[in-house]
Amino acid sequence: MTRIDQVFKRLKAKREKALIPFITAGDPDLATTKALALEMVAKGADLLELGIPFSDPLADGPTIQAASNRAVQGGVHLAEVLKLTGEIRRETDIPLILMGYYNPIWQYGLERTAREAAVLGVDGFIIPDLPPEEAGPWRVAAAKAGVAAIFLAAPTSGAERIKHLGRLTRGFLYYVSVTGITGARMELPPDLVTALKEVRRLVKCPLAVGFGISTPEQVRWLAPYVDGIVVGSAIVQRVARLKGQELIREVGDFVAALKAPLRAR
C-alpha cells in the first residue's frame, strides 16, 4: 500500500479528513520551501503538494503565477525540486506530491522524472495540462516507477468522464471546485456541495477538492463531503507577503487553523 493510500485509510478510520497544503517550490528560495514544508507537517498537514516552477502556468491565477515566476527567476527547475523533495523525505513520512506542467516534465523525460522522483521519495504527480486523452505515456512511466498519476476532474467534466477519471487516477481524485483557474476566492460556487455529492457517488477512490479554498470556514463547510482539501493560493499569498521567522510562524498557524475543522469531532 502506498503512502497516499495509507494516509487516507488511517484518517478514514479516525473519521478525519486530510489537509493538503500547496506551495510553489523555490518561492522565494529552496531553503524557505523546506522550512515551510516541515512547519506545515508539524502543524497538521496530511499530504504536501509542491509546485514545480514553470514560465507559463496557464491553469493558475495571479498568486501562483507570481510565485512560479519568482522561482523561475531564481533558477529553480525540476531537478532542484526533486532534490528538495529528497531532503524533505529524510525528515518526514508524509506523502509528497508534485504539481507541474507537462512540458518541463516531458523535457526532463517521463521515465526519468518518474524514476528519480520515486527514488527520492515522491509519491505522486498532478499535471494540470495533461488530460487523460494525452496521459498514456505518463501513466505507463508513473506506474512502472511506482508514483501516482493523479488526475483532476472539473465541474464541466460530466458524469461519464468523472467515472472514467475516478478509475484512472491513483491516490485520489482531485476535484476542481470552480470553473476557472487557481486563486483564493471569497465565495465558492453555491452548488459545490451538490457537485461533490454527485462525484462521491460516481467514484470509489478518495476524493479531494481544491481551487479557491482559502479560509477555515470554507474548509469546515466542505469537509463532510470529501476525503481531503487542498489549499494553495491562500498560503502562497502569505509567502509573498512575509519573510523569515514571521513567515514560518504565520503559515504554521494558518495550517493549524485550516486543519482544525478537519479533525474528528
Binding site: 491553469a59 527547475h77 518541463p104 495540462d129 488530460p131 472539473a154 467534466s157 468522464r161 476542481v176 483557474i181
Partner: protein
C-alpha cells in the same frame, strides 16, 4: 486526411489543456464537424466572404517586382485587400458564425499585431456579440492604432502584463479566461495553433486563400506554380495558402522571423531553430530553455513574435513537405522597401518577411517558373515601427 481522431499530425498536435476545457473542445469539434457540412452554413459563410470581406482577393501578377528580381514570375495573393487589411478575417468570420450557431454569447481572442484582434472585434460587431481581446502591453505600445480600432468596434482590450507582455502571454491569459467562462464563451484562436480542433478549424477556414489562388493561377496561366511562399508566426496564412496544394507538385516555403539573427538568440524562428515540446495545448516545435521553460520570441513584426508554431507545420517540417527558413528584421525591412517601391504596395512587416525571401529564391528559378507569395496583410499598422527603423521623417 490529418489530423487523426486524436487531433494528431504525426506526433504533433493533441489536446494538452486542463480538464475543464476538454469537454468544450470535444463539443467544439463535434459542432464544427456537423455545422461546417450544413449547406445553410456554407452559403452564409460564402455570402459574407464575398459581400463583406470582398473575396476573392486578387492574384496579382507583380510585373515590376518580377523584373526587379530578374527570375521567376511573381504572383501576389492580395490578402491585404481583405476587409480589415489581413487574412485574419477569413478565420474570425468562420469561427464567429460557428460560435453563434453553437449558442455562444461572447467571443474572446488573443492578439499580437492586433490584426487578429481587429478581425475578431469586427466579427463581434457584425454578429452583435460581446467581445474581449487580450493583448500584451508591449504589443499595445507597438500597435496603438489597432487598439483604437478594436475599441471603436465596441470590444474591450484587456492589457496583459505577465511574461514578455506579447502574444504568448496574451494567449495564456485568454486560455485562463476561457477556463473560467467556457460555458457561454467561444475562444477564437487566431492561428493554426492551440489544442485540437483549433489547428484544423483555422486551417480549413484559411484554406480559402489557397483554393482561390490555385483556381486563379490556373485560370490566368493554365498551370500550377512551382513554389508558394508565406511568412510563418503561428502559421495560419501559410497553412491557408499551402494546404489546397498539398497533393500538387508544388514547393512550400515558410519564412520565419530571424529577428536580430539566429545566433543572437533574439528571434522567432521556432521551426528553424526550436525544439519539440508542449505549449498552449499542442505538441509542436517551440522556443524553450533546457528545463522546458518557454523563451521569449523576438521579431520586429509583432504577428511573428511567438515562440510556438502550428503542429501541422511541425509535421510538414519533419516529413519534408514544406521547408522553413528565417529572415532577419533588417532583411524584412529590405523586403518592405522593395515591394513598396516596385509595386506601390506597403506590406505588413510580417508579409515583408515572405517578400524578402523571394530575393533568395529567385535565382533558383527560370523565367517560365511561377512563385505565389502570400501578402497576408497591409502595412498601415506598421508605419510607426517602419518609420523609426528606416529613419523616415514625418516632418
Amino acid at each position: 486526411m490529418l489530423p487523426d481522431k486524436h487531433g494528431r499530425y504525426g506526433r504533433y498536435g493533441g489536446r494538452f489543456v486542463p480538464e475543464t476545457l476538454i469537454p468544450a473542445l470535444l463539443e467544439l469539434e463535434e459542432a464544427y464537424r456537423r455545422i461546417s457540412r450544413e449547406r445553410e452554413f456554407k452559403e452564409e459563410l460564402a455570402w459574407y466572404l464575398k459581400d463583406y470581406v470582398g473575396r476573392p482577393t486578387p492574384l496579382y501578377f507583380a510585373r515590376h517586382l518580377t523584373a526587379a528580381l530578374g527570375g521567376p514570375q511573381i504572383y501576389i495573393k492580395r490578402e491585404d485587400l481583405a476587409h480589415t487589411g489581413a487574412h485574419k478575417i477569413n478565420n474570425t468570420l468562420g469561427q464567429g458564425l460557428l460560435a453563434r450557431r453553437m449558442g455562444k454569447k461572447r467571443l474572446i481572442a488573443e492578439t499580437g499585431a492586433g490584426q487578429h484582434g481587429v478581425a475578431t472585434a469586427t466579427v463581434a460587431a457584425l454578429l452583435g456579440m460581446e467581445c474581449d481581446i487580450y493583448m500584451g502591453t508591449e504589443d499595445i505600445r507597438r500597435q496603438r492604432l489597432n487598439v483604437i480600432r478594436m475599441r471603436l468596434l465596441g470590444s474591450k482590450v484587456i492589457p496583459v502584463e505577465s511574461g514578455s507582455r506579447t502574444l504568448k502571454d496574451a494567449m495564456n491569459e485568454t486560455i485562463r479566461d476561457w477556463v473560467t467562462n467556457v460555458r457561454h464563451t467561444h475562444y477564437i484562436i487566431g492561428s493554426v495553433a492551440g489544442p485540437h480542433p483549433y489547428p484544423m478549424i483555422v486551417r480549413d477556414f484559411q484554406a480559402v486563400i489557397g483554393k482561390e489562388a490555385r483556381a486563379q493561377i490556373r485560370k490566368i496561366t493554365g498551370r500550377l506554380p512551382q513554389c508558394l511562399v508565406a511568412c510563418v508566426g503561428g502559421g495560419s496564412n501559410a497553412m491557408g495558402l499551402f494546404h489546397p496544394f498539398l497533393n500538387d507538385p508544388v514547393r512550400f516555403v515558410g519564412v520565419e522571423a530571424a529577428g536580430h539573427g539566429l545566433a543572437s538568440g533574439h528571434h522567432s524562428a521556432t521551426l528553424v531553430a526550436g525544439t519539440v515540446g508542449v505549449l498552449h495545448g499542442s505538441f509542436s516545435y517551440l522556443l524553450q530553455d533546457p528545463w522546458g521553460n518557454i523563451q521569449e520570441a523576438h521579431s520586429l513584426a509583432p504577428g511573428l513574435d511567438y515562440p510556438g508554431v502550428g503542429p501541422e507545420h511541425s509535421y510538414f517540417k519533419d516529413t519534408g513537405r514544406a521547408e522553413y527558413v528565417a529572415v532577419s528584421d533588417a532583411e524584412a525591412l529590405e523586403g518592405f522597401k522593395l515591394l513598396s517601391r516596385t509595386e506601390g504596395i506597403l506590406p505588413a512587416l510580417e508579409s515583408a518577411h515572405a517578400v524578402a525571401y523571394l530575393q533568395k529564391l529567385a535565382p533558383e528559378y527560370g523565367k517560365d517558373d511561377m512563385i505565389i507569395v502570400n501578402l497576408s496583410g497591409r502595412g498601415d499598422k506598421d508605419m510607426d515601427a517602419v518609420a523609426e527603423a528606416l529613419e523616415v521623417s514625418g516632418d
